[in-house]
Amino acid sequence: MESAAGNIADVLKCSHISKEFDSFDGTGKNLVLEDIDFSVKDNEFLVLFGPGQCGKTTLLNILAGLESPTKGEVVDHGKKVTAPAPERGVVYQKTALFPWLTVMGNVEFGPKVRGFKKEERKKIADHYIDLVGLKGFEKSYPSQLSGGMRQRVGIARAYSNNPSLMLMDEPFGHLDAQTRYMMEEELQRIWQKEKRAVVFVTNNIEEALFLADRIILMTNCPSKIKKEYIIDLPHPRSYVDPEFLRLRREITENMDKSM
C-alpha cells in the first residue's frame, strides 16, 4: 500500500550495505551487517525490527552518515551520503542532549549553528517545544527532566532542523512499559502533524506494530533483512485488537531466537 500523501519519490535508498568491525581480540573481523537493501518512501513510517542489540544501531548510524559502510552505499535524494546532515535528523537511545544547555538551548542548537537569526530560531524552537508538549520547561536542564521528557527534547531538537528524514534509535528503550505506551501515542500524534519519512529502530514488537506503515524484520548477528511486512491497520491502533495480536504472534514466530 502506498503511503497516503506525498509523492512516491524515495527519500533514502541504501544498496548492498555491509559493515564489519575489527573483533575485540584484534585477530579476525566480525561481520555486523550483511548486504542490506531497502529504500524509504516520503512520509513513510518504516520500522527496523529485530532481536537484541546487533547491528540495528550501526545501520542507523550509516543511514545518518555518522558511520561509513564497509561495502555498499546510501543515497539521499540522489546524493551519496558521506557525512551527517540536518536533512537526516537523529534521535538517540540515550537522548544525547547537551547537558550544559537548557531545553531551549538544545532545540535551538541546530538553527543556531546554521546561522538563523535570533527571532527566527526562537520561533522554530517554540513551535517544536510546544509540539512535543514541553511548554514551560524551556529553562530547565536535561538533568532536571524525566526520561520521557528528555526524549521529547531529543525529538524536538531533531525536528527543528526541518529534516526530510527522521532516524530514531530505540528512543523509548529505557522507559517503563506504561510511559512507553504514552510516548508511542505521542510520537504518532507528532508524526501525523509533522509528516516526515521516519526510520525507527526497536526490539519491542508492540512498539513496531503500533507505529509502522512497514516493518523490516532483521536477523540476529550478522543482521540481514529476513522479511518485510506491510501494516495497514487504521490509526490510532490498539495493542489488544485481534488483528494486531495475530500479526504480533506471526512476526514473533518468524523472529530469530536471540542469545
Binding site: 548510524n61 545518518a64 555518522l66 557525512a83 551527517p84 546532515a85 540536518p86 537526516r88 535528523g89 537523529v90 538517540y92 540515550k94 544525547a96 547537551f98 547537558p99 550544559w100 544547555l101 542548537f109 541546530g110 549553528v113 546554521r114 536542564y141 536535561p142 538533568s143 532536571q144 531538537r157 531533531a158 532542523n161
Partner: protein
C-alpha cells in the same frame, strides 16, 4: 510519629557531635600541655590561639599576619593564573589534535613525575632567590594538574554528542567550541581544585627554602629559633587559608556547572 524535637536533634546531631569532639580535644590538649612535661614540646592550645589572634595586630618579623598571608596568596594567585591559561591551552590542544599530542605529550610526561620542589635548586639558579623563582615553582605545581585534567576532559568527550552536533549541522569549528569545550569544563574544574591546593602547598615549600616573608617563612623561622608557638600559629594560618581556597573553588564550580548536578565531578 517522630516528635519535632527528636527530628531536630537527629538532623543536628552531626553538628552537636562535632562540637563535642572539638571541645574534648582542646580540653585534653590543654591539660596535657599545662600539667605534664610534654608542655615543653606542645604549647597549650589557648596560648596558640591567643598568639594567632594577636599576630593580626602585632607583627611577626617585619609584617603582621595578614601581610604574610597576603604575600603568599599573591604568589599563588599570580602563578595560578598563568598555570591555568597555559594548562588549559596545552591540555585542550593535546586532547583535541593528535599531532600536538604526539609532539608535546612525551616531553610533558617526562617532566610531570618530577615534584615541583625538586625544581627549587634549578629555579634559584635561573631566577635567583626572589619571587620570580617562587612563581616558577608554584606555576609548575599547578600547571601539571590543570593540563592533565583538561587533556582528560577533551580526550574523553562523549562521541555521541559530537555525532549529534554534526548531525545538527555544526561545522568542525563549532563542534569544538560548542561541544568539546563545554563538556570538558567539569574536568577542568576538577584540575583547578587540585591545582589550587597543590599551589598552596608549593608556596609553603618554596617560602620555607628561601624567603623573607609569607606563611612558609613564618614556620621555618619558628623552627630556626625554636619557637613552637610560632610554628603552630603558622600551621593554623596555612590550614585555614588552604581550607578557604579549596571550598571557594568548589563553590565556584557548583555555581558555574549547575547543569552538572548529577554527575557531580
Amino acid at each position: 510519629m517522630e516528635s519535632k524535637t527528636s527530628r531536630f536533634m537527629r538532623k543536628n546531631m552531626a553538628a552537636f557531635m562535632t562540637i563535642v569532639a572539638f571541645m574534648s580535644l582542646l580540653l585534653v590538649w590543654e591539660l596535657v600541655a599545662r600539667f605534664t612535661n610534654a608542655g615543653m614540646f606542645l604549647p597549650p592550645a589557648s596560648e596558640i590561639i591567643s598568639k594567632f589572634v594577636e599576630s593580626f595586630t602585632v607583627p611577626i618579623g617585619k609584617h603582621r599576619m595578614l601581610v604574610h598571608i597576603g604575600v603568599s596568596l599573591y604568589r599563588v594567585g599570580v602563578a595560578f593564573i598563568f598555570a591555568t591559561i597555559a594548562g588549559i591551552f596545552l591540555g585542550v590542544s593535546m586532547g583535541y589534535s593528535k599531532t600536538v599530542e604526539a609532539i608535546i605529550k612525551p616531553i610533558f610526561e617526562f617532566i610531570r613525575p618530577i615534584p615541583p620542589l625538586a625544581w627549587i635548586p634549578m629555579s634559584i639558579l635561573w631566577f635567583g632567590l626572589g619571587d620570580q623563582s617562587k612563581f616558577f615553582i608554584i606555576f609548575l605545581g599547578c600547571f601539571c594538574f590543570i593540563t592533565v585534567n583538561t587533556y582528560d576532559g577533551t580526550k574523553n568527550v562523549d562521541h555521541v554528542l559530537l555525532g549529534a552536533a554534526r548531525m545538527l549541522g555544526a561545522s568542525e569549528r563549532q563542534v569544538f567550541f560548542r561541544v568539546v569545550l563545554p563538556s570538558s569544563i567539569p574536568y577542568i574544574f576538577a584540575g583547578l581544585q587540585i591545582a589550587i591546593t597543590a599551589g598552596w602547598s608549593a608556596v609553603v615549600g618554596a617560602e620555607m627554602v628561601r624567603s623573607d616573608e609569607g606563611v612558609g617563612w613564618l614556620i621555618v623561622m619558628g623552627m630556626t629559633n625554636g619557637n613552637t608557638v610560632q610554628i603552630m600559629v603558622g600551621m593554623l594560618a596555612i590550614g585555614i587559608v588552604g581550607y578557604i581556597l579549596a571550598t571557594a573553588m568548589a563553590k565556584l564550580e557548583g555555581r558555574l556547572c549547575i547543569w552538572n548536578q548529577q554527575q557531580g565531578i
